[in-house]
Amino acid sequence: MRAGSGLAGWRLSHLPHSIFAFFLVFLLASLWVPRFFSPGNLSTLLLQASILIILSIGMSLVLIAGGIDLSMGGVLSMCGVIMALCLRDGVHVFAAILIGLASGGLFGLLNGLCVTRMKVPAFIATFGSMGIAQSIANTLSGKRTIYWESGSHSSVLDFLGGNIIRVEFGPEASMTFYIPFLVLLTVVVVGCIIFLFKKTVLGSYAFAIGENEETARLCGIATRRWTILLYMISGMLASLAALLVLIRTNSMQPTSGDGLEFQAVVAAVLGGNALEGGKGSLYGAIFGALTLYVVRNSLTLKGIDTSTTMIVIGAVLVGGMVLNELAARHERGLSRKG
């Protein structure tokens, strides 16, 4: 008998594994890394992780449906540059944001069309569009960071960049806990996506398409349209992440999105999303992203070179895969027993 088997139907192992991974690394970091468990650092961590949370939610949606969206980083760069250029040239801030979101959606549409109509494997199609989007970002920006004059839009940007909660525990900056508006925005957006996923047909269809597209089609699901929609959501989430980057840094580097799609895959996989589709969890991806940022943040605080962090992230990805496989084996063992 295993411990906890008395709770029929509910098992700890049914939770996304990244939740345990998150609590583990959080505990270790709090114990071993000085200044990690301080209000200021946790606030920074939350803000940094928000960008990846948004990306990994988009990535998970596509992964569950059996695809992958490698263009997210490139699209982030491109949309950020487009929005920044609009702001620099005095376009109204809301118009700029809409243009940015529309560009992301458009790239998602192209990805979706490529995958569903042209039958290009998702890996190749989105890999290609990553290059295209990144080139557009480089060309439009002249490979230089874009700044803008403060003007009529600064009040809106200042508001978006501000904090909704601010509690001072002490005089130093590290003792101030704050929740930026951007974190709230992330919570709202992610909440909406999860709501759509659970309460509309979106979630069931994504799982069905990822499990077996032919079956989904025979069930009368317009699989192509739903796949395209999922890529569009993913593209728009990438452009939303670009908005976060832009507001947080008050400027836009054309290389901001570099490698973020990779981190999004890592977060999603840590969260139990399988590359072969048909299974996964959005909550898992959120905790995957948080886990990753706890690791990155701790390394930075320890003064470890940023180029080393990729080694750790790569190791976390492979480790996450191993964890998923072990958990799956464990589950198979349990079900055989029943």
Partner: protein, 497 residues
């Protein structure tokens, strides 16, 4: 009375093959119309035309007196036509209710009304007498229950025509009885059903009329009551098959495989022996632990206790390579996933376990491989123009022979067959049986796990029966009959262990 549905002179041509040739057939409300024929006879193609997956090249589909001009899976579904495929089409990560309503959810605005779906699921399941909580994830159900969910799904769409394509291939006798009860209930409701099966004895139990197909043509349609088994078998094969089970008596020799007190997750203290020259049947209900014992004995699944001896030598645990080196072969139930690499040709599949022996030094010698494989292709009468044909394009029976060839090339002497003839047409079945007989005459030993009782009784020299993870009993060929096996399979061996 106009029939519910009529196929009117349907023809369908695939490149190089006339899959359907001028087939006319009708279906009445409230009847079970059985369609039989070998693999490739055109049954599935005909059903795919009904469901709108294929468009016919000639002829018409007439539903309640109206010609259907446009068809697609979606349209046929709206017309009340449902398919229960051999491979289940359910999504493991979704709940029972979500699966049943997949593609036609009950909505409240743009939201899914889960409460209503679960309630409706419960009443649908109750109407066919199945008890499964609607929120259970599908992956946690048994295959039999998953099939009941598939039927419930058809009912939820108010299906008036249901096609069953080999519905019983993964069910045990008790589950089949349950399925037949549900089919009878559907008949009462006036649902018209096509029933495709390779198990001929079933046809007489459940069918009202039977249509025999061969080579894309309809051979004959007649009422079951006026049809004999011989007539059906003869019609399918196009020739008279005397007896499919031609087991000759063989010399029994040394113990080849000796399993002692093996325990695992799904079974406990199972001991069994296979001698040279012997076919040993392993029977029992699905879930009784039959396959699990065999898999654990071969070292694929972990075991928690007990020992396995091959030719008197103790085998290490969890090490299939060690057993296969000692000449024990395992032919899994799921040939497509576990027995073959579908994208590789016959030759590469056949030599894959004997690469070291055939190619000493590690350099592949294709010509030698080809001649060895050709030898076995001839011996096993594998019907293929070339040994380079991809496994994917072979029929179920031929695939099974290729898996067998793979083990014969490794010089195996003990064969564990898990459901050797599942999904294989009757012509190929009898040639698989002949091969098994031939192997034992040459001194091989066979352990055969099967859900098909006639197969177990017809082929085995001895039969072990399992129930609830225990060995319920052992029967000699003389003792073994339907009654004895079923009695053991339904017994509760816990008390005696």
């Amino acid at each position: 009375m106009t029939p519910l549905l009529r196929f009117q002179r349907i023809t369908k041509i695939f490149p190089g093959v006339k899959a359907l040739d001028d087939v006319s057939l009708d279906l009445r409300a409230g009847e079970v119309h059985v369609i039989v024929g070998e693999n490739g006879a055109g049954k599935s193609t005909l059903m795919k035309i009904l469901s709108g997956v294929y468009a016919p090249d000639g002829g018409e589909l007439i539903l309640k007196g109206e010609i259907i001009r446009r068809n697609s899976p979606r349209i046929s579904e709206q017309m009340g036509i449902a398919m229960i495929y051999q491979e289940l089409t359910l999504i493991p990560e979704l709940s029972v209710a979500d699966n049943i309503f997949l593609g036609h959810e009950i909505r409240k605005g743009f939201l899914v009304n889960r409460a209503a779906m679960e309630e409706r699921t419960e009443s649908l399941l109750a109407s066919i007498g199945v008890q499964v909580p609607p929120r259970t994830l599908l992956k946690n159900l048994s295959i039999a229950n998953q099939q009941m969910i598939e039927i419930t799904k058809a009912l939820s769409k108010n299906a008036r025509i249901i096609v069953f394509d080999e519905p019983t291939s993964s069910l045990t006798s008790a589950e089949i009885a349950e399925l037949f009860r549900i089919i009878a209930a559907l008949r009462e409701k006036g649902v018209g059903m096509f029933y495709i099966s390779h198990r001929l004895e079933e046809i007489f139990e459940i069918g009202d009329r039977v249509t025999i197909m061969r080579d894309g043509k309809r051979i004959n349609t007649s009422a079951i009551a006026e049809t004999g088994m011989d007539q059906v078998v003869e019609g399918i094969a196009g020739r008279r098959i005397e007896n499919v089970y031609n087991r000759s008596s063989t010399e029994k020799g040394d113990i080849l495989l000796d399993v002692r007190d093996l325990s695992g997750a799904a079974f406990k203290n199972v001991s069994l022996r296979v001698r040279s020259g012997e076919i040993v049947g392993l029977a029992g209900l699905v879930g009784s632990g039959r396959s699990e014992v065999a898999r654990a004995a071969f070292g694929i699944d972990p075991c928690t206790g007990g020992e396995v001896f091959a030719r008197g030598e103790k085998m290490p645990r969890n090490n299939p390579q060690a057993l296969s080196r000692k000449g024990i072969a395992f032919l899994p139930e799921d040939r497509k996933r576990e027995g073959l690499a579908l994208s590789l040709p016959i030759r590469e599949n056949a030599v894959i376990s004997a690469l070291h022996r055939l190619n000493p030094g590690g350099i592949i010698r294709r010509r030698k491989e080809r001649s060895v494989v050709r030898d076995y292709v001839d011996k096993l009468e594998i019907s293929t123009p070339t040994v380079e044909k991809l496994a994917n394009f072979l029929s179920g029976g031929t695939q099974q022979k290729v898996v067998l060839a793979k083990w014969l090339i490794t010089k195996a002497h003990t064969f564990i067959f898990d459901e050797p003839t599942r999904g294989i047409d009757i012509g190929s079945k009898s040639s698989i049986y002949s091969l098994m007989d031939e192997l034992t005459r040459q001194g091989a030993g066979i352990l055969m796990i099967s859900s098909e009782l006639p197969e177990v009784l017809g082929m085995s020299d001895r039969v072990y029966v399992m129930a609830q993870g225990r060995l319920a009993g052992e029967l000699s060929r003389e003792e073994a009959d339907h009654y004895a096996v079923i009695q053991l399979a339904f017994s509760r061996p816990e008390a005696t262990a």
